[in-house]
């Protein structure tokens, strides 16, 4: 087990693994995303109260879940990088940041587009919206701090500390609608009793959540391949690899 982990944590073999996985993950993600969009935006019934406008949640909700999940991956990889100094963990840690920031920005943008017609306001400073905005700033802070330190490995350790500190915000975002009065509604899917969405609406939502996870893995692998290529471009194995391909 440890041997297998060590083998795949070595950059050359992980680089090849990324290439193999990416080749079939990309078409699968594109096809399933198209299917999910048709299911959510066209086949799923309109909501009894919100009509058609609720359909924005098929993007908003999976995106919001991903904004939290990607942060946890980023912080966990950061912790591994801090303690064990695994180079691959440093790369996973830092390559998560732009992807997570995009999910967070998409969550905020789609939420605002939905908030204006439904609530009557683009933005309110309630606990859910504010803590999600802080999450965006945490991601941007990680990106900016990494860019400010010239040594890549030292930079990754510094951003790992920032990411681990920011983990405190994750349960605050998730439980904000339960702990405090907010304008944002409470959880629909992750309740102790049954989910509060009808199956015809819940099914495409969960489908989209799976598609978003596939998208994250696909994009992360592509980014990792890029950053390994950048870091190893002077090394012999990478030159051999590139020559073999050409």
């Amino acid at each position: 087990m440890l041997d297998a982990t060590k083998r795949y944590a070595s950059l050359p073999s992980f680089y090849r693994l990324c290439g193999r996985l990416f080749a079939w993950l990309l078409p699968a993600t594109v096809a399933l995303f198209a299917a999910g969009l048709v299911w959510g935006l066209y086949l799923a019934p309109a909501d009894y109260k919100q009509g058609e406008a609720y359909r924005i949640m098929f993007i908003h909700v999976p995106s919001a879940w991903m904004s939290l999940l990607v942060y946890m991956v980023m912080a966990a990889a950061g912790a591994v990088a801090l303690v064990w100094r695994v180079k691959l963990a440093e790369l996973i840690h830092i390559e998560c940041a732009p992807v997570g920031a995009s999910f967070t920005a998409l969550t905020l943008a789609t939420g605002m587009l939905w908030g204006k017609p439904m609530w009557g306001a683009f933005w309110v400073w309630d606990a859910r919206l504010t803590s999600e905005l802080i999450l965006l700033f945490l991601y941007l802070g990680v990106i900016a701090l990494y860019a400010a330190i010239p040594d890549r490995r030292k930079a990754a350790r510094a951003t790992a500390v920032l990411a681990i500190v920011g983990v405190v915000n994750i349960p605050v975002i998730h439980y904000s609608v339960i702990w405090w009065n907010t304008l944002h509604q409470g959880p629909t899917v992750t309740r102790l009793d049954a989910p509060a969405a009808h199956i015809s609406i819940l099914a495409p939502l969960l489908f989209m959540a799976v598609v978003f996870k596939l998208y994250f893995i696909t994009v992360l692998l592509a980014r990792l391949r890029g950053s390994i290529a950048e870091q190893c471009r002077a090394q012999q194995w990478f030159r051999d690899e590139a020559a073999g391909r050409a």
């Binding site: 019934p45 309109a46 909501d47 009894y48 109260k49 919100q50 009509g51 406008a53 609720y54 949640m57 912790a79 801090l82 303690v83 064990w84 017609p117 439904m118 609530w119 009557g120 306001a121 309110v124 400073w125 309630d126 606990a127 500390v161 681990i164 500190v165 983990v167 405190v168 915000n169 605050v172 702990w179 405090w180 009065n181 907010t182 304008l183 509604q185 409470g186 959880p187 629909t188 309740r191 509060a196 969405a197 009808h198 015809s200 609406i201 819940l202």
Partner: protein, 150 residues
């Protein structure tokens, strides 16, 4: 695990635990300020000073909405009820039995004078046919004729 790695692991754990404890204390002590709105019961127990702007949230008492140049309605949390007057446009989701959050001031006579009214959506999603069979009247924009006729 080598001693150095143990040391670094301890650093990570202490870092996270320390910040979690700090955040918990801060959030606990600022709990009141983190509430987006007060409920009618909180207003009844301890009324904020007259003239201070705050948010009042609750469920619109069915049948209490009187539209006109000035909209009047009652917000309840099932314990206390506060009367609200408002001049302006209401969001589409606003209606009987719906959550709403009003921003404004409490007048001397105990009526809440709102500057803005936002609708609060609940966590339920279902197709219109099912909602009707459950006895829920489709409101708002699902059936525009219902929402705008009044």
């Amino acid at each position: 695990m080598t001693p150095r790695r143990k040391q670094r692991l301890a650093f990570v754990v202490i870092l996270l635990a320390g910040f979690a404890a700090a955040a918990a204390l801060v959030l606990y002590s600022f709990e009141k300020n983190l509430l987006y709105f007060y409920t009618p019961t909180q207003i009844a127990e301890q009324a904020p000073p007259a003239g201070r702007t705050f948010n009042l949230g609750g469920m619109v008492v069915p049948g209490s909405v009187r539209r006109g140049e000035r909209v009047q309605f009652e917000l309840t949390d099932n314990h206390s009820t506060t009367r609200v007057v408002y001049r302006g446009l209401l969001p589409d989701l606003f209606g009987d039995g719906q959550g709403a959050v009003a921003t404004g001031r409490l007048r001397e006579d105990g009526v809440f004078a709102a500057d803005t009214v936002l609708a609060k959506h609940d966590e339920n999603y279902m197709p219109p046919g099912l909602a009707e069979s459950l006895g829920q009247k489709p409101v708002g924009i699902a059936k525009p004729a219902d929402g705008y006729a009044q």
